[in-house]
């Protein structure tokens, strides 16, 4: 029962990793951009949530009404004024510019908020549990987190395959030059994709902040978790990313059960094993 409990917790944590991964997967899908600052943007959203909840007295989830649009605007601006200039055949500019951005965000947060770890209080929901059997219960918050992740993937999937925006995203992803011939401004589409990515990031940031302590140096590890979920699930497949997040969460939970020092290592090893035996991930869709 102990084991079952660990695995269940791992599955639910996988929801959080899916949220880290979804934004990363989205922009890679649309413009083949890998944003090294992605994890730092998650942490930045967590700090924004801290500021908003304290300043406006909102609950963490309600603060998303402010943070998500704000992050979306930041994302659109970042893409239009900075990242669009780096796109092209050369791999180095986008990687190194987002790497520079990561350093700036991390140290900016350090400067403003100090290295002390913080946490967002969500009230009674934090400790509420649903008993399943006498020995097994699940926390309400992790469950909400997982359900939000599923809903997020479902909405992104619907947006990609059922809306005009989604058509523009997919068309731009398929062929950047042809899409311009039919009147789509790819710079604008890229801006929208990054805006959407950072709206997703803001949800991830709020759940990160509610779940446990956070500090400015946490970004890179969130990037790595998201990246591992994307690769395990298979590039370009959103439901695959959810599966990847769950695999990563469960691997970490099993590792932690064996020895607390093995939690992160077990997640990384699961990723490396998938890379060794099934490098295209479980549910691949596009070639990187």
């Amino acid at each position: 029962m102990d084991w079952l409990n660990s695995i269940l917790q791992g599955v639910l944590v996988g929801g959080l990793y899916t949220m880290f991964a979804a934004g990363l997967s989205l922009i890679f899908g649309v413009m083949r951009l890998v944003n090294i600052a992605h994890g730092d943007l998650v942490v930045m959203a967590a700090y924004l949530a801290l500021v908003v909840t304290q300043a406006l007295g909102m609950s963490p989830l309600a603060s998303l009404l402010v943070i998500a649009p704000l992050m979306a605007v930041i994302g659109y601006g970042l893409q239009r004024w900075l990242l669009n200039r780096t796109l092209g055949d050369d791999l180095l500019p986008p990687l190194l510019v987002t790497f520079g951005l990561s350093v700036i965000i991390q140290n900016g947060l350090l400067e403003v908020f100090s290295p002390d770890s913080r946490k967002l209080q969500a009230g009674a929901i934090e400790t509420a549990t649903i008993p399943l059997t006498p020995d097994l219960s699940i926390g309400v918050l992790p469950l909400v987190q997982f359900l939000v992740a599923v809903a997020m993937i479902g909405s992104l999937q619907a947006l990609f395959y059922r809306t005009a925006w989604g058509r523009a995203f997919r068309a731009t992803s398929d062929d950047q030059s042809t899409v311009q011939l039919v009147g789509v401004d790819n710079r604008h589409v890229f801006g929208l994709a990054m805006g959407l990515s950072l709206a997703v990031v803001s949800v991830a940031g709020v759940f990160l902040a509610v779940r446990a302590n956070f500090d400015p140096s946490m970004g890179p590890a969130r990037l790595i978790f998201g990246f591992e979920a994307v690769i395990i699930g298979g590039l370009g497949n959103l439901w695959g990313t959810l599966a990847g997040g769950v695999v990563l969460g469960v691997a970490q939970a099993i590792g932690a059960k064996i020895d607390p020092g093995w939690q992160l290592l077990a997640g990384h090893l699961a990723f490396l094993i998938v890379l060794a035996v099934r490098p295209e991930g479980f549910f691949p869709k596009v070639q990187a």
């Binding site: 790497f99 951005l101 990187a288």
Partner: protein, 348 residues
Amino acid sequence: MSGAFTVTHGTRVSRIVALASFAALAALACAPLWAQASSLNLLTQIFAYVALATMWNLLAGFSGLVSVGQQAYVGVGGYALFALTIFGGLHPLVALVVAGVIGGLIAIPVAGLLFRLRGAYFAIGSWVVAEVFRLLASQITTLGGGSGTSLPARIVTSMADGRQAREFMIYWTGLALVVVVLGLTILLLRSRWGLALRSIHQNELAARSNGVEVTRIKLLVYVVAGFGTAMAGALIFLQKLRISPDAAFSVNDWTAFVIFMAVIGGIGRIEGPIMGAIIFFVLRQALSDLGSVYLMMLGLVAIVIMLRAPRGVAGWIADRFGFEPVPLERRLTRSKPSNESKPESAHV
């Protein structure tokens, strides 16, 4: 018209630069005679960073392998040095070379995994490998686990008689490391593999269809970088005398700074990382009191250079003044010039 052709690299400028480099090398080798201990210490740090940046440049600038995980090899080198001297009883300088070999050997299976990832995903994958190494290092209880360990006094004193002799020895080791790493890189890039790398850089598909063994050459480069980076790591921790997983596998110290140096100095040029390292250390001496603001400025400078002058300072100098201190391209020169014309040459 008949006549034998020879392939050359050197130009008049490059020969003058080479002579000047030997003079500078001689001056640096005599530095213990004229410099203070603190300057020697600083110079050794610069040497280690020039080596790291040159190795990163070999990967990213010449081979399209953009890594943000080279701290993996710095840490492996450092830990290998500690393990080989403490448990193996090797002399630190022997251990330093063996640490490099270990770094190169570890690079082979790592490449087997990472080469499955392309482009930017290779970069993050390399970071995961570094994290795995860091977590594994913190499981080595005999080397202090997560909190690390110091190099025992008996090993420190076995290096040379007296503190000053030790400092000189570490300094000369650093200088030798730079010479080895730069020499190895220049030789590699001027060899037929270097020509192959150039062709891969210009058009990988065309290179492949002309019989260039792309994967093998990238593997060779990755292994050489693992070797050089691990030796630099061994030197760094021989100088620090203390190692811990967080210090040994730090992404900031061993990759972020190194990338800044390469970007500012000029990616894809031999002299770029050298210039970048010097600029970086001058900035650091002047601004490091600013702490995290200094790091933000570095990030900003790197972004601006990447957007405005992606070839860095060395590239700007080359474009503006046509100054090519270390030409890597091959020139075909008629070895016996005929009577009626000047020697013709073509760039390849």
